[in-house]
């Protein structure tokens, strides 16, 4: 499947039309979605009509920018006027959005063609996409495995060629986890950078909106469209000579699948060969991050769901309901302690970045887990799937730093592996420029 960048070039060279490429995505959806369950809603007729309009506009000389006519998908946690935002939950039965989320308005202005709304872990409250009122989404690389989550249907839609790119949300890793599990680029920007207006919240402290794409260049284009900057031109890659990157070792590389570790070390070695200066560094309170995350995200989520937990508890999937109930038990004093801990961790990550252009670590410690697994074997020891999935991504939700996953090859059994780059807060574009330069060395 072509990238958005390639699509744009071919569209403007009159080699393809938006209608043709949209039709190709719709045919892929028809062929593969019954197996992968990536979409909750397909806007076939509307997408065809919008693609034809974009073609007519271009023929008349109106070019909306890099996303003009590009067929993309959107996580069904994001409001589109006139459609249900199901959040993959029976709790939302009967919902109809009365306006577009801010990011949808920006995508429409940018000329994107939204082909459908994608499956997710119920209310984005999980990392595997198994708990969904619409059934689990499946990984295109191996449909007995999870595509990751919570934006699992989104990742499956792009990895299977059902859309050129997709929009996800990330509260503890829900963009980067499925990107890594499905061999895609996933960008979580700086906290607060992209509007979450019109997006069903999980934790207002940690929620982010961002793209999953087939390349770093596409991530730049879609990220800027989400910001409302839909005429952004492609940046120049950052020259790698003289770049300083720090590997996070202690805690972050303590528990890794053997193949993930191998692909990560190979990527770091290739970057070093390309002229990158590689240091090692520690985050002092790394071991405390999952505890801090838990004591903030659970009460945040419980507060949003309090009324429906009481009025319609049986409409939640059992696992999601129980995690929400946990959040109701956390005391205010412990929430405040965790917020204080968050500030400490944020300063420690800032300090690690003060002398470096980026931090580097694996995105997921394990490849995509089998659907239904609660534990996986890592280096001969059983580890809880949920803890493994969040371990390396949630630190940067706690810190609010921009972080992105880039494909870094596959395991011996052919499952994708991702490497994560983390940049300074409020410097997402600098991270994207660095990632653009690193991409050919990290991937194989």
């Amino acid at each position: 499947m072509m990238t958005i960048e390639e699509f744009g070039k071919r569209l403007r060279a009159r080699e393809v039309t938006a209608e043709q490429v949209t039709e190709s995505c719709l045919q892929k959806i028809g062929a593969d979605n019954p197996r992968l369950n990536g979409f909750i809603l397909v806007r076939a007729d509307d997408a065809r009509r919008e693609a034809r309009e974009r073609d007519r506009e271009l023929a008349a000389g109106r070019d909306r920018g890099p996303l003009h006519g590009a067929p993309i998908s959107v996580k069904d946690l994001i409001d589109m006027r006139g459609l249900a935002t199901t959040a993959a939950s029976r709790v939302r039965e009967g919902h109809v959005a009365d306006r577009d989320a801010a990011v949808i308005a920006h995508l429409r202005q940018a000329g994107a063609v939204i082909v459908g709304k994608t499956n997710l872990h119920e209310f984005a409250f999980g990392t595997t996409n198994e708990d969904s009122a619409f059934g689990p989404a499946r990984n295109p690389y191996d449909d007995s495995r999870s595509p990751g989550g919570s934006s699992g249907g989104s990742a499956a839609s792009v990895a299977a060629g059902m859309a050129l790119a997709t929009i996800g949300t990330d509260t503890g890793g829900s963009i980067r986890i499925p990107a890594a599990a499905c061999g895609l680029v996933g960008l979580k920007p700086t906290i607060g950078e992209v509007s979450t207006d019109g997006v069903v919240p999980l934790s207002r402290t940690f929620d982010h909106v961002g793209p999953l794409t087939q390349s770093v260049a596409d991530a730049f284009l879609v990220h800027h469209a989400l910001l409302g900057d839909h005429i952004a031109s492609q940046p120049a890659p950052m020259p790698l000579h003289g770049v300083r990157i720090a590997v996070l070792r202690r805690y972050f590389c303590d528990v890794l699948d053997e193949d993930v570790r191998a692909r990560f070390e190979e990527a770091v070695a290739r970057l070093r060969s390309a002229g990158v200066h590689v240091d090692e560094i520690e985050i002092r309170h790394a071991d405390l991050i999952s505890t801090i995350y838990l004591h903030i995200s659970l009460p945040d989520a419980a507060a949003y769901h309090a009324a429906t937990l009481d009025s319609m508890p049986d409409r939640y999937t059992p696992n999601v309901r129980l995690r929400l109930e946990m959040g109701r038990a956390i005391l205010a004093e412990d929430y405040v302690r965790a917020m204080k801990g968050r500030e400490v961790v944020q300063r420690e990550i800032d300090a690690a970045l003060a002398q470096h252009d980026a931090l580097i670590l694996p995105t997921l410690p394990i490849p995509a887990p089998p659907i239904g697994a609660t534990t996986v074997d890592v280096a001969g020891k059983p580890e809880a799937v949920r803890a493994m999935m969040l371990r390396l991504t949630q630190p940067f939700n706690v810190g609010g730093h921009p972080a992105m996953s880039i494909p870094a090859g596959t395991t011996r059994s052919g499952l994708p592996v991702g490497v994560q780059l983390v940049g300074c807060r409020h410097e997402t574009d600098a991270l994207l420029r660095l990632a653009l330069a690193c991409e050919p060395h990290v991937g194989v």
Binding site: H285, L288, S290, T291, I292, L294, H295, P318, L322, R323, E325, M326, A329, I330, L331, E333, D334, R337, A338, K340, G341, V344
Partner: protein, 47 residues
Amino acid sequence: MTIDAWLKAAMADAEARKLPELKPLLETLAKATALLRQADVNDDAKR
């Protein structure tokens, strides 16, 4: 409120609300909360 007192109250509440599946999760949460309270990032009125 001590962790022990909190856990006892939370377990009783789970029992009263007919949510016995919540109990093992609360026990796990209690361990995490103990870690959070012991961490050196906390404020201390004596310092």
